[in-house]
Subunit: 211 residues, 2 copies
């Protein structure tokens, strides 16, 4: 429909602008409280001494996530969507104006906590990841197939809680592969950093091109 | 806007139909995997021998929740919303036709897992509850204020994980009261049934009127 088409056009413009400035952008989607901010903080901790990184944090309201990410000493822009349940390419287009794009290597975008609508609104990023957590239970992948069709990587977080939840990390991965055979899944614990190296590798966040 | 106005009209019609048949309807909202289905199953287990109860289960796709709820031996209708991220009064209006309304005392409606959009789409229920879980972290109430403005009760579930998460159930309750002073909050563990009696009391699910 018209809104989606318009969003795709703006997403393409964002992508062109990022490419012109040689910035790799990653759209981090996932359920409410699945660990998106914690994951981004882990990635920043690991990468920021080598690369120049900016972050756009999206939420309905508050600056809670931007404040937490600022603890990693990178430039963060908080975008508040009001009542909109997903970021869109227009909000990103405006946020990009706040950065000195010539001086960035990476841009992480934290999407609004929502496993449904962000799937339909590409932002112009190079990679899209979906973060789910084992505390949501064993069925959340199967119940939300569309967002996994859009992903380049699925992070299965909070593996430390798998036993208490009676949830199998392996079968969540199998549910992902039933929707997208070959889609990379990485189990993580964002409290300890387990799995972060694998994510960096899978997303090619460190490669000669980006060095 | 027009869509919301139309939804409110249909919600009123649903409410009139329920009142005409002396059915008390409860809209169960909450984040993905917070425990809505588990909570409904607990309520059914406790109430179904005394009352005639029907359930409408809402999800994008699959019949997973309806199948689980059927284990409680009540009539369940699964509504699939397609890509829509919330139930609406029109879907409920159609689902109501599937029940023998003259033979129901209670109707539980499980909304789509989403802490944002269901707030704007009343269904015509008598009560609306929001189920969050401690595994989403300490900020999820503050970040999603609008849905709590619509609630008659907030359930804080998975209290058994509070320690592992380093989350305080008490401060989640305080966050709710900052938005809505006096809004009832009930901590629960849906694996053990802790808190279920309190919910039944708060929602007046057992009272002379409903006996
Ligand atoms: N046990 C455990 N808790 C975690 C893990 N990762 C994150 N958390 C906790 O989960 C809660 C939510 O983490 P966030 O990083 O805020 O999640 P989010 O996806 O950014 O949340 P929203 O942006 O609000 O949707 C916090 O209390 C984190 O400390 C993990 O691997 N294990
Ligand atoms: N540890 C713990 N797990 C719980 C509790 N309540 C529910 N669960 C588990 O949490 C997971 C999700 O529960 P559901 O009842 O399916 O949650 P839901 O809100 O209906 O999920 P969706 O409808 O998919 O949004 C399941 O694995 C449940 O067994 C609880 O109090 N403690
Ligand atoms: Mg966050
Ligand atoms: Mg459910
Ligand atoms: Zn939405
Ligand atoms: Zn929505």
């Amino acid at each position: 429909e018209d809104l989606l088409k318009r969003n795709e056009e703006l997403a393409r413009k964002n992508r062109d602008l990022l490419d012109k400035n040689k910035i790799t952008a990653v759209d981090v989607m996932g359920s409410i409280g699945s660990g998106k901010t914690s994951l981004i903080k882990n990635l920043l901790f690991r990468l920021r001494t080598k690369y120049r990184i900016g972050v756009i944090a999206g939420d309905l309201t508050t600056t809670i996530d931007a404040e937490r990410i600022k603890e990693e000493e990178v430039e963060v822009i908080q975008v508040n969507t009001g009542k909109e349940c997903h970021l869109d390419a227009n909000l990103i287009r405006r946020a990009l104006k706040e950065f000195d794009l010539g001086n960035l290597d990476f841009l992480f975008i934290e999407n609004v906590g929502n496993l449904i609508c962000p799937a339909e609104f590409p932002l112009g990023s190079h990679k899209r990841m979906v973060v789910v957590s084992v505390s949501e239970g064993p069925w959340m992948v199967t119940k939300h197939p569309y967002i996994f069709s859009e992903a380049d990587l699925v992070v299965i977080n909070k593996i430390d809680l798998a036993q208490a939840m009676g949830v199998s990390v392996k079968s969540i991965g199998e549910d992902v592969h039933r929707i997208r055979p070959g889609l990379k899944t990485v189990p993580t614990n964002c409290l300890t950093g387990e799995g972060i190296e694998e994510i960096i590798k899978v997303l090619f966040l460190e490669s000669p091109k980006n060095a």
